[in-house]
């Protein structure tokens, strides 16, 4: 299963990818929306984990653009914000919404549920 992680905090997203790789997922990462769109155009991803607040485009806007490239792609949102507004938006737009910091097991569980693994 191939996962695309997008977050503007490079240290966070690169280490998260490495930990998912240790758990058997193929995880690629990007720190910008442009980088994520480029990757999605060149490779097929089953799922994208997107930060809600990012420079230039929000995670919600990025989701819409990724869906145009790959309509089958599933989504999970992550954010440092814990507002109700963000939660409503995240759950409406994606299958799950996780607040940072989180345990890797929580993310893995949501990935497995989203992809019916």
């Amino acid at each position: 299963m191939k996962i695309l992680l997008v977050d503007d905090e490079e240290k966070f997203v690169s280490r998260l990818a490495e930990r998912l790789e240790l758990r058997g997922f193929e995880a690629h990462w990007a720190t910008t929306c442009d980088g994520a769109l480029y990757k999605a155009k060149t490779e097929y991803y089953d799922l994208a984990v997107l930060d809600v607040k990012m420079p230039r485009l929000s995670g919600i806007d990025l989701k819409k653009m990724l869906e145009k490239i790959n309509p089958d792609m599933k989504f999970i949102f992550i954010t440092g914000h814990g507002s109700e507004e963000d939660y409503d938006m995240g759950t409406r737009e994606g299958s799950f919404y996780i607040i940072k910091p989180f345990k890797i097991e929580t993310l893995v569980e949501k990935i497995e549920q989203t992809l019916n693994l």
Binding site: E18, M54, G80
Partner: protein, 227 residues
């Protein structure tokens, strides 16, 4: 007068709420980095116990990045503390360089989200007698508007100068075709509180806050606590 006091108090509360949101967001990001880094270190150690070679260079780099994040968090908390103290006294001597630095640092997340650099020029030191809290709020509003209306260079430069009459804080790099009215009623009220003047020069691409060396008669004096 009472209506204005009510408005300015409401603005003050909302400013405190907004800065708390910004700070908690940043701290959560830092905690997430620390959590992932320590989690990875732990997993690499576990793997080394099963025979996988452990790279000392990688471990060092991971542990150094935890230290960096702790320093970043410390800097944010230090700013938060400075900001919290700005309501200790409604009117006092204020170092403009420190105040502008504090507000530019608070606006870094916004600056990143708007893909625009916020650069503070070195202008030395300058002290005026004013309201630190409402000055911070006015500077924050001006930065927010400047970031939304940045010119093609995508860089807002913040500088200040002073003469016998007072000081000017200048925000340059604003697009000449900037959309939106500024200052609005909110900034006008803050400017009134501070005996200041906010002006936008679209030809020069500059927004200026002009402040007197000593705040004039202001209704916020009624907000001073009674001993």
């Amino acid at each position: 007068m009472e209506k204005e006091i009510g408005k300015i108090c409401a603005e003050g509360f909302s400013f405190f709420g907004m800065t708390n949101r910004l700070i908690s967001h940043e701290l959560k990001n830092i905690l997430a980095i620390i959590s992932e880094t320590l989690g990875l270190i732990d997993e690499l150690m576990e793997l080394s116990e099963t025979g996988m070679e452990l790279e000392p260079g990688k471990l060092r780099s991971l542990s150094e990045s935890v230290i960096e994040e702790v320093e970043r968090a410390n800097s944010i908390i230090r700013n938060m503390n400075t900001f919290a103290h700005s309501v200790d006294e409604f009117i006092r001597e204020v170092d403009i360089s420190q105040t502008v630095t504090l507000m530019t640092e608070f606006s870094q997340l916004d600056s990143a989200l708007k893909n625009t650099k916020l650069r503070l020029m070195d202008c030395g030191s300058c002290v005026i007698y004013t309201s630190p809290f409402f000055l911070e709020k006015l500077i924050y509003h001006v930065i927010d508007f400047s970031l939304r209306g940045a010119g093609h260079e995508k860089e807002i430069r913040v500088s200040f100068d002073s003469d016998d009459n007072g000081i000017r804080i200048i925000f340059s790099g604003i697009a000449s075709n900037i959309i939106g009215e500024f200052p609005t009623k909110k900034e006008d009220l803050l400017a009134k509180v501070l005996s200041a003047k906010v002006s936008l020069d679209t030809t020069a691409g500059e927004l200026t806050i002009a402040l007197p060396k000593r705040i004039g008669e202001s209704f916020i004096q009624n907000l001073l606590p009674e001993d």
